[in-house]
């Protein structure tokens, strides 16, 4: 039982990170119909910015993390929107989807060439010490990850629901035409979405890197997990992405322990197929109304 609880807690900690990536994916889809196939690479890249900050520039961990988030918002937020999404959305959804695949390839191969093909170690936020709470052994590092991820999600939810800008962003996502008529600066709201996505990806990157190590090819599995989390939870709901992320994290961890380590990747995929078969709108999603 204690083992099971430990696995669940570890799963919730990684699941919260997946949720961050999945939320960003969902937000981009909602506000700009961008299916970002480079989302995994977006989570892979910022850790390298932090590594450059720590190793090359000799900055402390916290400053490097801030540097990584800032650079990510600039490059994966502003530059991605202005240079890739804006010119390509005019050509239609498929050219844009293809381009995000190319962006993913570009980031992956670029990092491999410019930085290194080797996996790099990355420091944890809290020391990797085991503490015991009522018989359950938990790593302090995992608790740190969970705390940061939960704080980020709560802050985001407060921003989206509790501030004027956040509600304007929601209006933009739900109906850009009406939002524009009501005086919402739609363009700026879309830009904010890209910035938030980049920041979430960067935070996820810094949190996941001590666990996965920093490697150019990390994006493949991270991107896949973010898709699965977003679709399982409900493509069009932020809370769906959160639930999906946590669920996938826990299932992934339990599958590795109880099913088979060599097929652990397949278990979330099986979940994805089941959801598509029986509840295509996702566990918490609502059906999308479509007009002809």
């Amino acid at each position: 039982m204690a083992d099971f609880l430990q696995l669940v807690i570890a799963g919730v900690a990684t699941g919260a990170i997946y949720a961050l990536a999945a939320i960003g994916f969902t937000l981009l889809w909602q506000t700009s119909q961008t299916i970002n196939f480079a989302q995994g690479e977006f989570v892979m890249l910022p850790a390298f910015f932090a590594l450059v900050g720590m190793k090359t520039l000799g900055l402390p961990v916290s400053v490097s993390a801030l540097l990584a988030i800032t650079l990510a918002m600039l490059l994966l937020g502003v530059v991605f929107k202005k240079a890739i999404v804006d010119p390509l959305i005019r050509q239609g959804v498929i050219p844009l989807v293809i381009s995000t695949i190319a962006v993913g390839l570009l980031l992956k191969e670029g990092i491999k060439e410019v930085y290194s093909a080797e996996a790099q170690p990355f420091p944890t936020l809290l020391p990797d010490r085991i503490i015991e709470i009522v018989g359950v052994r938990i790593s302090l590092a995992q608790l740190g990850v969970l705390a940061v991820a939960v704080a980020t999600i709560v802050a985001l939810q407060w921003f989206l629901a509790g501030t004027r800008t956040g509600r304007q962003m929601q209006a933009t996502a739900q109906n850009p035409t009406v939002a524009r008529i009501l005086g919402v600066p739609v363009e700026r709201m879309v830009l904010y979405t890209f910035l938030i996505n980049a920041a979430l990806a960067a935070i996820a990157s810094i949190l996941i890197s001590p666990i996965y190590l920093v490697k150019f090819s990390n994006g493949e599995i991270l991107g896949l997990t973010a898709f699965v989390a977003a679709i399982v939870g409900g493509f069009n709901q932020v809370r769906g992405a959160i639930a999906g992320g946590l669920l996938v994290g826990v299932i992934d961890n339990l599958a590795a322990a109880y099913v088979s380590a060599s097929y652990r990747q397949a278990v979330p995929l099986a979940l994805l197929v089941l959801v598509i078969l029986f509840r295509p709108q996702g566990l918490l999603g609502r059906r999308e109304e479509r007009t002809v």
Binding site: I98, L106, V228, I231, S262, Y263, P280, R287, R290
Partner: protein, 335 residues
């Protein structure tokens, strides 16, 4: 009229292609054969992406299904011809099974399901060592013997692959020109109207996906005896992404697009040896630039240039890629 000229052009191209390797070394012939095999798989992707307006991220997985099926069957003593058919049929059947749930739902779901399927197939290839040899793969796959002539020499095998690719290319040509294929033109131009005219959008899309996947299986069946050794790496998710990019670069929805795309993906890296590892970076940039300025790919670019030279308006079917991609961008009729 126009299609008769294209047919003549196609025949001339086949004759040229049959003669080209006479001036090439063994390695050159090998690369040319690899190009044909890649083009066959890309033909399938083009049917799915360019004509049915879906996204597939599993063509390398279907290639793998074909390659492993052929390798295992021929090693068990089954003749190549039979193994080839089984490879295509197996991919077709698997395509139906995974396409059915995905196409029930909305756009992009086929992309996600094929993404998941790709990873799953790769896991099976890697983990089921008793069957696939795991990461060590399967070695010593024999090239077939045709009517007493061994296809072991590179040139013989090239001609064999050229013959099969020609048959598959003409089959695709016929398919697209049949009433069945015409329905696709209707689908991509205006899916809502097509549906109201009684075209079962879902069934046609599903069949297109299954047939496109079968082309992946056929290509895999040729790939295994070509390289004579298979392991899971070329059938992973990354190569599936490359197949999609290749077709779009060549020109999605243009009949010869897959051949151009496969040439860019297979032949160009050989010429760009000096660029080596930077090749994929250049390639990715090329894709983004092409998508931004000419989403109908190199085929569309060529058509645009040709019509500018003639100072004539672009012929109606010279820029199908754009028409298709535009139509695909519209929301689907059913959710």
């Amino acid at each position: 009229m126009r299609s008769r000229w294209l047919l003549l052009l196609l025949l001339a191209a086949i004759v040229v292609l049959a003669l080209v390797p006479l001036g090439l070394q063994r390695y050159g012939t090998y690369i040319l054969t690899l190009w044909l095999v890649t083009a066959v798989a890309a033909l399938g992707v083009n049917l799915i992406v360019g004509y049915a307006g879906q996204e597939t991220l599993a063509q390398a997985a279907f290639l793998g299904i074909g390659a492993y099926t052929t390798a295992l069957l021929t090693q068990a003593g089954v003749p190549f011809g039979f193994a080839f058919l089984v490879s295509g049929l197996a991919s077709f059947a698997v395509g139906l099974v995974i396409g059915f749930p995905a196409l029930r739902v909305q756009k992009h779901y086929l992309a996600f399901v094929t993404l998941a399927f790709s990873v799953f197939v790769w896991l099976v290839f890697r983990n089921e060592e008793w069957l696939t040899g795991g990461v060590m793969g399967i070695m010593g796959i024999k090239r077939p013997v045709l009517a007493g002539i061994s296809l072991r020499p590179a040139l013989h095998f090239y001609w064999f692959v050229l013959a099969i690719s020609t048959v598959l290319t003409f089959a695709m040509w016929w398919l697209l020109r049949s009433p069945w294929g015409r329905a696709f033109t209707a689908l991509r131009e205006n899916p809502i109207r097509a549906e109201s005219l009684g075209i079962d959008v879902r069934r046609y899309t599903l069949l297109a996906f299954a047939i496109g996947s079968a082309y992946g299986g056929f290509a895999g069946s040729l790939y295994a005896p070509l390289v004579e050794f298979i392991d899971p790496a070329p059938f992973a998710l990354g190569p599936s992404f490359l197949f999609l990019l290749m077709v779009v670069v060549g020109g999605a929805g243009s009949f010869f697009g897959p051949f151009i795309g496969a040439a860019v993906a297979v032949l160009l890296p050989e010429w760009l040896r000096f660029a080596q590892s930077y090749y994929l970076i250049i390639y990715a940039l090329l894709v983004i630039v092409l998508m931004a300025f000419c989403p109908s790919g190199i085929a569309g670019l060529a058509a645009r240039l040709a019509s500018r030279l003639r100072k004539a308006p672009v012929p109606a079917d010279a820029k199908p890629g754009r028409a298709n991609l535009g139509a695909a961008a519209k929301p689907e009729a059913r959710a």
